[in-house]
Symmetry: C2
Subunit: 228 residues, 2 copies
């Protein structure tokens, strides 16, 4: 069992990252889940991340404290910017829920942990289909980060290569759900809502809730989400 | 005055980054200094960063909390790894003081703040001469990060380019000091020691102290460092 290779998986506690955690296991890795306490409004996500990591028996689950509120700029961290509830900032424009350089920051810290673990594989749940407005969810960004990882690290300087896996990149939400169901993901443990309450109940009207609900409908899977 | 372009400058409070802050000013930018409270042992650095930012009249100084102790792996953040005091881990090997992916993490957060500010220029004090053992201090790493920044950001997606300035890259310590003196840097405000005490007094024997002391000697500049 000690010979199973470790991988670091970014785990937000949402539907996508729960699926990615299961993908890392499917791919033969011992998944090490990494979450961030970054001043997000929807802290119920962190509770969900812990539930998901436990349910999927992650090899470890770390929560790194990183207070991005001090740099501001996003509706998810800045109380002065309203969360969109009617599709504004949707598919074509860059949404106001974009956290500046978030995936760069999260992947960088994941890379640091990977070095400590001796892992060469990072997993994250970015997706270019439903959220094409986020620049750091695009395949070219992911590929560039893998190049950077090789230059950035001791392991890379010694000849190691890093792989950044984004298994959901080309999937629509209903395809992600269908995949997760085959891998045994319990979506009832996850929280996607941008403004979930403390117990993790979803608003049902924000962009994230809307994409999620449509996904279950299209996948033909009963929606286990607890709505307020 | 409001038309001066902003730049984000990584400011540790050490000799190098204090010089870089002065370089950003020299280059015509309004420097926005960024420091990290990342669980480093030598917290006197953060006090030094605040003094340096104030003395050089930075446009802003932010300290972002990021607890890297949770991922471990470095003598600077992990109490179980000894700080080198006799040159072990020096020029050829990667030193044990290397913090996994540190510059990647710090630049990523700097990039996030740059997006919020509308800045396109990042400055950091990496140096390939005295500390060639750190993979994330090499020119190829810096160049790759600038490429990544373009793909990672809203500004980049809209056609903007980012520049990552490492004005000390090719300078030896005494050359850095000579440059800083011409730019009016007060090195008495800075702390370089890996194990400075709470008042910022240096041990005089760690690798960092040794490089620093030799630098002042070779530059022919009186060493303003307070040693214990």
């Amino acid at each position: 069992m000690g010979s199973v290779r470790p991988a670091v998986v970014l785990l937000s506690g949402g539907l996508d990252s729960a699926t990615v955690l299961a993908c890392a296991r499917r791919d033969g890795f011992a998944p090490h889940a990494l979450s961030f306490d970054y001043g997000q409004r929807h802290r119920a996500e962190l509770d969900a991340a812990a539930r998901v990591a436990a349910a999927q028996r992650a090899a470890a689950h770390k929560v790194v404290v990183l207070d991005l509120r001090s740099i501001g700029g996003s509706a998810l961290t800045d109380a002065a910017i309203a969360v969109p509830v009617d599709g504004h900032g949707g598919r074509q424009e860059i949404p106001v829920t974009y956290v500046p350089a978030r995936n760069t920051v999260f992947l960088a810290i994941a890379l640091g942990w990977a070095e400590v673990l001796g892992a060469r594989d990072l997993y994250l749940g970015v997706n270019a289909v439903d959220y094409s407005g986020y620049p750091d969810c695009r395949p070219e960004f992911i590929a560039k980060f893998a190049e950077l990882a090789r230059l950035a690290t001791k392991a890379g300087a010694e000849g190691g290569r890093f792989a950044v896996h984004a298994p959901l990149m080309a999937l629509a939400k209903h395809e992600i759900i269908a995949l997760g169901v085959t891998l045994g993901v319990d979506y009832g443990l996850t929280v996607s809502c941008y403004q979930a309450d403390a117990a993790g109940s979803a608003c049902g009207v924000c962009d994230s809730c809307r994409f999620r609900r449509e996904g279950f409908t299209r996948a033909g899977v009963p929606d286990p989400t607890r709505y307020r």
